[in-house]
Subunit: 340 residues, 2 copies
């Protein structure tokens, strides 16, 4: 059932039927009702390919997926996706993943924009002065950044959590508990989120006249093994930290393992706080000692981004609005006063 057939059986022109269905004003209410009725009754669904060719709109949002043999997709992605799906599902919005060589994403961005494959894109894990951002900005496709970049002379729309604030709070708490030697096991510090977190920690320390030890700030990809290694290295120093702030639950698993290997206990020997993106399959309250966390649901962020992208596509949202979500500090048994 296509437009031609439908309009024919209504004895109307395709123009009128099309306009009736798309809510244009130049069609009488009665006609519109008739058309709508018939469309529903016959299960008419406009062919998206045709609509697309005519309008250039695809009804999909895009994401360029960095891939490569040495490239692992962030496990957070799946939770983000859950959120995105939660919103998109009810709006018949599909998501197009365009895999790209991690070292040459530009080609892919250009392709999907030139081909009008998607109406909007989102960008995640941005770095300072991220080229993708500059590119997408000049290409003129609607977009939203999940996270923030830095060092641009233009503004852009984003959704981020207050990473600096969160880690500032966490570190401040630890300092208040008397910790003088505080370490940060951070994610990849080429990414902005990690930079912000480090900034938060440093600021909290500085406020009490402390500076982190040279090697007490480390940056690694967020695996259990790296958490272990970092913790091990830190705790075997001559003056080990008495508190650690950690950028992910997965790394925290490794930290906990390292402590065990060294015969140290939480929180008497070491206080630990980690960031929790809220995975359903790994919860901080279920750590051997319940883990204090800075918590922010990445899934909710996914839903919000979908919502905002939809708004941008339909022109309801404009400009470079940035949105920063506060982060909860949830204190559990893994923190205590600094050891004697």
């Amino acid at each position: 059932m296509n437009l031609k057939q439908l309009s024919h059986m209504l004895s109307l022109s395709q123009t009128t039927v099309s306009r009736a269905l798309n809510g244009y004003p130049e069609v009488s209410e009665e006609t519109r009702r008739r058309v709508m009725d018939a469309a529903k009754r016959h299960g008419y669904r406009p062919n998206p390919s045709a609509r697309r060719l005519a309008t250039g709109k695809s009804g999909m949002i895009g994401y360029v997926l960095p891939t490569g043999n040495a490239v692992d997709i962030d496990p957070h992605f799946v939770e983000f996706l859950s959120g995105l799906g939660d919103y998109a599902r009810s709006h018949e919005l599909d998501l197009v993943l365009s895999p790209a060589d991690a070292d040459d994403q530009e080609t892919t961005y250009r392709r999907i924009v030139a081909n009008r494959q998607v109406d909007a894109v989102y960008i995640s894990s941005p770095r300072p002065a991220d080229r993708r951002l500059a590119l997408v900005n000049t290409l003129g496709i609607p977009f939203i950044v999940h996270g923030r970049s830095e060092g641009f002379d233009f503004d852009y729309p984003y959704l981020d959590i207050d990473n600096e604030g969160a880690f500032h709070e966490a570190a401040r708490l630890l300092v208040q508990l008397g910790h003088k030697r505080l370490a940060l096991i951070n994610g990849d510090d080429r990414e902005t989120f990690a930079i912000h977190r480090e900034r938060g920690v440093r600021r909290a320390l500085a406020a009490s006249g402390l500076t982190p030890g040279e090697r007490h700030i480390c940056s690694l990809t967020m695996t259990e093994e790296n958490g272990y290694r970092a913790a091990r290295r830190l705790l075997e120093e001559s003056e080990p930290p008495t508190a650690i702030v950690c950028s992910s639950l997965i790394m925290a698993l490794g930290v906990v393992r390292a402590l065990r290997d060294l015969g140290l206990t939480i929180p008497s020997d070491l206080s630990l706080v980690a960031h929790d993106d809220v995975f359903p399959w790994l919860r901080p309250e279920n750590f051997p000692v319940p883990l204090s966390t800075t918590r922010s649901s990445i899934r909710l962020a996914g839903a919000r981004i979908a919502e905002r992208l939809a708004a941008r596509i339909s022109g309801l949202e404009e400009g470079a609005r940035g949105e920063v979500w506060p982060v909860d500090l949830v204190v559990r048994g893994s923190v205590a006063g600094a050891p004697g």
Copy 2:
């Protein structure tokens, strides 16, 4: 730059240019070369929307993503995606994720097929007599199942690992080591993979005249917490198992935690084997006691599925070919003879 312009500047018809570019035989080699050259030089890229409208082919593969408030996307998905991307990247194949209400995926399948949004789909986590499979089979769109279903009177193309064999081997090893009380902490047993795993374990036990205790086979969604709970329940029985086979590393984390809480040690009190899908961020060799695993890279499966889908789309693969990958049993320190 579109076809019209290109053909005009070559003084050829659109027909000829189109045919030259698409490799049809009825154009001379010389002309083809001229056309190819000009196309490359001017960076001509056929407009996919137009091509799509004309041919009905989209150059994308689809996946219906079950979503909902109570629905969590499987964390394995991300690794699978990495693999899919590895292949798709080099073939300019995009992946369309269509989020759907987990309880009504049929509507979405019908929509993407009717709209010809994608050229092929894949289905994951199938259940016995899975309705999606029957649906997709009748809709006539090329597809591949990741995993297997059961109870159909038709064959279908799939890629699966030998779950039964893997768990049979694992259980057999434990039995050979003298374990009489063996428990299985399985994933959701409405899914075929879990059924196969259970079958493997039962078969190994039966071969030595053993049957698993009533409550020694449990089925739960694969979270750390569920692993903990199941292990705890099992080990607090009057006749606790001396060996556990576990369907995922994440659950195994919980098992290890439970053991610790109960003051038990691996492998002297309990032998443990888990299935490893090969996550970059959590490795069995890094468990407190290196974990024995049945190992199969889900990422490689993703790449293979992409490859086969592409082959199906282009007609290179036909029929209901099933492919079953063997699974490695990797023995590490977590298994030992049954305690005294």
